[in-house]
C-alpha cells in the first residue's frame, strides 16, 4: 500500500510534468513562430498559406452547422438504405458478371 501511494504520487506528478512540458513547449514555439513570421512579413509582404488563419469561434460555428446538416443527411441516408443495398449482387465466392441476358451454354 505504501508502494501504492508512492506510485500514485509519482504518477500524478509525471503526468502533470509531461503535459506541463507540452504546454511550455507550445507556448515557446508559438512565440518563435510568431517572431519568425513577423520577420517574414517584413521581408516579403506576401501572405503565405501558413499565415491563413481562421478564428476559433468561426470554426466552432461552422463545425456545428456542418454537424447538424450532416446529421440530417444521415437520417435521409437511412431511409434509402434498403434500396441501395440491393444493388450489390457481388459476392466474392462467385462474383462474375455472368449476365442473366446471356443464354447458358
Amino acid at each position: 500500500m505504501e508502494q501504492g501511494i508512492t506510485i500514485a504520487v509519482l504518477g500524478v506528478s509525471i503526468v502533470f510534468a509531461s503535459l506541463a512540458g507540452l504546454y511550455l513547449c507550445v507556448k515557446i514555439f508559438v512565440r518563435i513562430i510568431e517572431f519568425m513570421k513577423f520577420g517574414n512579413v517584413r521581408k516579403s509582404e506576401n501572405v503565405t498559406q501558413a499565415d491563413m488563419m481562421i478564428s476559433g469561434e468561426v470554426v466552432a460555428a461552422i463545425t456545428l452547422a456542418l454537424q447538424l446538416s450532416r446529421e440530417e443527411l444521415h437520417d435521409m441516408e437511412k431511409t434509402i438504405l434498403t434500396m441501395q443495398r440491393i444493388t450489390r449482387p457481388y459476392s466474392p465466392w462467385s462474383s462474375k458478371v455472368y449476365g442473366i441476358r446471356k443464354p447458358a451454354r
Partner: protein, 383 residues
Amino acid sequence: MEGLFRFIHFTGFYNMTPGHIIMIMVGLFFIYLAIKKEYEPLLLIPIGFGILIGNIPFWENIGLQLGIYEQGSVMNYLYMGVVKGIYPPLIFLGIGAMTDFSALLSNPKLLLLGAAAQVGIFVTLLGALALGFNPQEAGAIGIIGGADGPTAIFLASKLAPNLIGAIAIAAYSYMALVPLIQPPIMKLLTTKKERLIRMKPSRSVSRTEKLLFPVFAFLITAFISPGSIPLLGMLFFGNLLKESGVTDRLGNTARNALIDIVTILLGVTVGASTQATTFLKPQSVLIFVLGALSFMIATASGVLFAKLMNLFLRSDNKINPLIGAAGVSAVPDSARVAQLVGAKEDSTNFLLMHAMGPNVAGVIGSAVAAGILMSILMKTIAF
C-alpha cells in the same frame, strides 16, 4: 566455370518436370476462363496466377525459401492464413457485410431448400469413404458439394491440410462451371409445367427484421451446431455491421478493403499450394471426380426437395422447383441459373429474387454442415 554450372542448376529450365508444365497450363487456363468467360474472375485470377507462382520449377529443399512449402518463404507465411483457417472466416465477415437476407426473410420456408441441397455433401462423404479416403479426408472432400469456397478451405484446413489445394481448386472450378453443370440436371428433374410456375410476389421485409435476423439466426444455428461458430459467427457479425445502421463505416471496410485483401492473399496462396511435386497425385483426380458428383447430387436434392414441398403447399402458393437448385449456394451464380432456365420457358417469369432465398440459405447450410463435420471428425479432439 563451376559457378556457371551451379547457376544453371538454379534455373527453372533445369528443374522442370512435366508436372510443372501441366500445372502452368492449368494456371493459364484459369486466367483465360476468368478473362474471356468472366467465370468467377475475382477468384480465378488470383488462383490462376498463384498456380503459376507455385509451379515455377526451382531447386527444392536446399533452403532457398522460395516454395510455398519451404519455411521462411513469403508464400509460406501468407499461406499460414489458409493452413490455420484464418482467411475463410474473415472472408465470411465481408460476405456477411454484403449479403442481403431480405429474400430469405420474405419467404422463410425457402430456407429448407438450402438445407436439402447439402445432402450432396454427405453422399459424397460416403463415396469418398468407399474409395478409401480416411474419414477426415472424406469429410473435407464432401464439403466441395457445399459450393462454397471459404467453407471448403476452412474445413479442409481443419480436417485434411494435405488436401487443401485440391479441394479448393475443385470447389472453385465447379463453382465457376455452375452455369454448365446445373441446367441439364434441372431440366431432367422438372416438367415444363413445373418450370412455368409463377411464384407469389414476396412479402416485404421491415428494417427491424433485417436487423434482428443476424443476431438470432446466429444464436439458433450456433446453439444447434457450435462447430459452425467460426464461419457463421463472422458471417452474421458482418451482416449486423451492415444492417445495424450505426456501423456503416465498419461494414463498408469489411466488404471492401478487408475482403479484397484477404481474397487476394487466399487466392494466390491456394493457387500456389498446387506445387506440381506435391499436388499431381491420383487422389487429386479422385477429388475432382467426387467434387463433380457432389455438385450434381446437391443440385438434384435441391430440386427434388422443392417438388416434395409442393406436395404440401396450396396450389396458389407452389414453389418453382428450379429455385431448389439455387440451394447449393455458389452465390449468386446458381440463383442466376435458376432465373435463366426459368426465363427460357417464360421470359416474363422473374425467379431471381425467389432464388436468392435458398441461395443464401445454402451458405448457412454448408457452414452448419462444416461445423458438424469438424465437431465429429477433427483429429485433435481428445475425449
